[in-house]
């Protein structure tokens, strides 16, 4: 697989995103698989931001730390990103008279970098164009370096400014000027792209947030309530922007508590309603999670992760909220936690989440993260036949409704823990969705026998749900060449990697790499995280030489859950907690290190050795 990467770097507000989006769409339409990755600070203007496009003729879904082309919109972009360039890389900058510091001059020599000064301001003033048009100018210049058809770029630009005729005209002039500037150079610098694969041209270019929004609409979500918080806000914006077409009820609530209760009320009434937030907002939503457990109300909450604690790093990524999703709230009850991994399952899992919520009458927490929310994926058009709507034991038939008694609603005798549910407005016996401990009708009942029976009913759903959830998926290095897998031969697994969420895509790209072609490495990807199925994992662990956990958090939270659920301890961990996602080249070298380095066997531990009694007075400062 050949892949190239271009990074556009500069200040927030300089139009980095438009360059990334236009170039990304242009490349995708020309037949390349594009993966876009954004880094930006939590501010509106200024500060250092970047947009990286990785492109290939084969399917890719990750970012490299090293780049082929750097487009620096300001001198900070140069100062901060020169080190990222690969051998023979290209630097395009716009800073007149820029003197590279000694260390960068050395870098330019050592890595044989080509430096191109692109006089944006001169060209703009010659065209009488405003500074904002620098985006299109720069994009056109890069486009010519890729040796791509100018008309392909023009059609993307034309669409972007559709309806603004004067603006289109000026933009076209900028495209021409930027494109022809490269030709006017004595020594035209080009970046060789592999031959395109036209299949990609009909694909979508979507962020994970857009994918999730489309999935929610597909799943029959008719009401969305949310409070803005990165990285969940793009989902709210996407859904709100299309409200006139979807005709959904969209409410920007006064806080996350409101959003959570509004969607809970809407679900109680019988529609499908969604909310999304990040960690701090989820803290506020957790009381509603507990409430829904008691009234056995289906609900779906999206939890978009970013580094914490507190407001942490608002615009960066993390997988630190797994334990929060699994354990938030007082009381013991059944919930379901799953995580999307990319634009495919961000779409696919929305109908699944609502189906699970309604079938089991539980809250489903759908984890995503900033990386997935913001990354730009080349996505094949979604299969709209795949999903069905399942509403579980929802009674709507008039005859069946007539036969119901109030005591059916929370009947503790339901063998699977799931009792019939019917909606306000149904001509039937009425019940109370009771937040206090209640009997089968929803009337408050404080007797011990009832508390025990209803607790068992709610917890029975955990077993029922667990039995219905899929095991994690396996992805093999060097697999699929002749349709025959080394895994089927029963070979020892050299290295078993376990991960979840956005880790998966970087892992899958690495599994497809040439470097691992002859390695017996397997990646086990968890989508359904709670209840946690461990049978497949334990089977694989038994035939693995080494097991390593890969997560974007400090504690190895999935590892903690695995140990808690089946006793398998995985001491060997690749943990990343710097706000950045896993990068392709980084993961590749880490895995190569693991297979060549000394093995650390994973073990099933017995009870931990008893700790010595601590004679210290806790809280006393040590002198």
């Amino acid at each position: 697989m050949s892949r190239i990467s271009v990074k556009i770097a500069g200040a927030s507000g300089q139009g980095i995103n438009s360059i990334g989006e236009i170039a990304g769409k242009g490349l995708k339409r020309s037949g390349y698989c594009v993966f876009g990755y954004r880094e930006y600070p939590s501010l509106i203007k200024g500060g250092h931001a970047s947009y990286q496009l990785d492109a290939s003729d084969e399917r890719i879904r990750s970012t490299e730390t090293k780049i082929n082309v750097l487009v620096a919109l300001n001198h900070h972009g140069l100062e901060l990103n020169m080190e990222d360039l690969k051998e023979n890389g290209i630097v395009i900058h716009m800073t007149p008279g820029w003197q590279f510091p000694e260390r960068h001059q050395r870098l330019i020599r050592e890595r044989s970098l080509q430096v191109i000064y692109f006089p944006v301001d001169d060209i703009l003033s010659r065209l009488g164009a405003r500074p904002v048009l620098a985006n299109v100018l720069v994009t056109a210049f890069v486009w010519s370096m890729f040796d791509q058809d100018i008309n392909a770029l023009k059609s993307v630009v034309r669409e972007k400014f559709a309806g603004k005729k004067a603006l289109v005209e000026l933009n076209m002039q900028c495209v021409d000027a930027g494109y022809s500037y490269a030709d006017s150079q004595e020594r035209k610098v080009t970046v060789a792209l592999p031959a395109p694969d036209k299949e990609f041209s009909s694909h979508l270019l979507v962020t994970g947030s857009q994918a999730m929004g489309l999935g929610a609409m597909h799943a029959g979500v008719r009401l969305y309530a949310g409070y803005p918080m990165t990285p969940s806000s793009p989902l709210l914006s996407f859904i709100a922007d299309r409200e006139n077409e979807t005709r959904m009820v969209v409410k920007q609530a006064e806080d996350e508590i409101t959003a959570a209760h509004m969607v809970s009320g809407a679900m109680y009434m019988g529609t499908r309603a969604l909310t999304a937030t990040s960690g701090v907002g989820f803290d506020l939503m957790s009381e509603a999670l507990s409430l829904n457990a008691m009234i056995e109300n289906p609900a779906v909450f999206v939890l978009a992760q970013r580094p914490g604690p507190a407001t942490g790093l608002p615009t960066w990524t993390a997988q630190g909220a797994l334990l929060q999703a699994v354990h938030a709230c007082h009381g013991e009850f059944t919930r379901c936690v799953l995580s999307v991994s990319n634009s495919q399952d961000a779409f696919d899992l929305m109908p699944v989440a609502f189906n699970l919520a309604e079938q089991y009458q539980v809250t489903v927490i759908v984890l995503t993260d900033k990386q997935i929310a913001d990354a730009l994926y080349t996505q094949e058009p979604y299969d709209l036949e795949k999903a069905d709507i399942y509403r579980g034991k929802l009674v709507t038939d008039p005859g069946e409704l007539q036969a119901l008694t109030a005591a059916d609603r929370y009947d503790p005798g339901a063998a699977d823990g799931i009792s019939p549910r019917w909606l306000p407005g149904s001509q039937a016996a009425t019940y109370c969705a009771q937040g206090d401990e209640h009997d089968s009708t929803g009337a408050v009942d404080e007797t011990g026998a009832n508390n025990k029976a209803q607790t068992e009913k709610r917890m029975q759903k955990f077993r029922t749900l667990k039995a219905g959830l899929p095991e994690p998926c396996l992805c093999l290095a060097g697999n699929g060449k002749q349709g025959h897998s080394w895994m089927d031969d029963g070979d020892e697994i050299e290295l078993l990697v376990i991960g979840w969420g956005s880790t998966g895509d970087a892992m899958q790209d690495v599994m497809c790499s040439q470097e691992l072609r002859d390695r017996k490495i397997a990646y086990l990807h968890y989508t359904y995280l709670w209840p946690l199925c461990t049978e497949k994992l334990q089977n694989l662990a038994g035939r693995s030489k080494r097991i390593v956990l890969a997560e974007q958090n400090y504690q190895g939270q999935l590892g903690m859950l695995i140990k808690m659920e089946c006793g398998l301890d995985i001491p060997d961990k690749i943990l990343k907690y710097d706000g950045r996602p896993f990068f392709y080249d980084e993961v590749l070298s880490l895995l190569l290190e693991k297979v060549t380095g000394p093995a650390t066997r994973s073990r099933v531990t017995g009870s931990a050795p008893a700790g010595q009694e601590n004679p210290r007075d806790p809280g006393r400062p040590s002198s």
């Binding site: 694909h203 979507v206 109370c432």
Partner: protein
């Protein structure tokens, strides 16, 4: 979006529940409970046609003492739950009940936004001027200087001027009842349930166990039906004056109402011209039109 009165009659006993009442003797909840049943039946609404949402407190313990699709939630949160329920199905009248503690402390933000949103729901404030279910602590509506559980010297805070606060948020319906007058409450509740937007109904409620200042007798001596005295609910200035005066005489009745302000749902442009509810619209959708611009 008004609740239409149903044809045919509904008998009050349809709302009868087997669950035994647990309120104190003389509790104002008995009167409110009766008035709610009279109002719903009087509007021709069967229990299966209504959604009653309860906050936490002694009033919330009534959630299993009446028929209807009911919900009993968390402290201070009844408004957003009820609003979400209503927006999902505009065909069902939704009534939210809450005490003065939850409404003006933990849930005061929700009240503010409910008023400015003009959600098409009825909100019934059970105002007994204390947190009764947690054994008599002061709320923002407890009289200043009144010794209460956890404030033996009386509360240091000022009492919240609740009606001034409500009127500052430009309500479209404000009424006040007294738990000792079931007939008056019934009239108010019927009007509130039929109101176009957010109907704020305060019921001054006796709490014989913990409220030893605004007692049943105290309220009985002072309350009067302002509408019977000729008050026009369209008169905002007089409504504000009457609402804020609660010393010598306490004006009750429908203090203020305007029907010309669209409710929240009516203002949702995407919903214009739709006859269906969000509940009825749950199905699988073809979203390929929405991704065309992403290709």
């Amino acid at each position: 979006m008004k609740t239409t009165v149903r044809a045919g009659t509904v008998a009050v006993p349809e709302y009868y529940s087997e669950t035994r009442c647990t309120w104190c003797d003389g509790c104002g909840n008995y009167g409110i409970w009766a008035a709610v049943k009279y109002a719903l039946a009087g509007l021709g609404l069967h229990p299966w046609q209504v959604c009653l949402c309860y906050d936490v407190g002694c009033h919330g313990n009534g959630s299993d003492k009446i028929q209807g699709y009911r919900f009993h939630g968390l402290h201070g949160r009844v408004i957003p739950f009820a609003a979400g329920a209503k927006l999902a199905n505009m065909k069902i009248p939704v009534i939210a009940f809450a005490g003065d503690g939850a409404t003006f402390s933990e849930g005061v933000g929700h009240l503010v936004h409910a008023l400015r949103s003009n959600y098409p729901i009825t909100f019934v404030l059970h105002n007994n001027a204390n947190y009764a279910l947690t054994t008599g602590q002061a709320t923002p509506l407890t009289w200043q200087g009144q010794p209460m559980n956890t404030s033996p010297n009386g509360i240091p805070e000022r009492t919240l001027p609740s009606m001034d606060f409500i009127f500052s948020l430009e309500p479209t319906f404000v009424a006040r009842g007294f738990s000792g007058d079931i007939k008056l409450m019934t009239r108010i509740l019927k009007a509130a349930i039929q109101h176009r937007g957010f109907a704020f109904v305060e019921i001054l409620q006796a709490c014989p166990t913990y409220d030893h200042f605004a007692t049943h007798e105290y309220l009985l001596d002072r309350y009067f039906d302002a509408n019977a005295d000729g008050h026009d609910p369209g008169d905002l200035q007089q409504a504000k004056t009457l609402a804020a005066q609660a010393q010598d005489r306490i004006a009750c009745g429908i203090l203020y109402q305007r029907e010309d302000i669209p409710d929240f749902y009516e203002r949702l442009i995407p919903r214009h011209g739709l006859e269906t509810t969000c509940v009825e619209e749950v199905r699988k959708y073809d979203v390929s039109e929405y991704w065309k611009e992403l290709v």
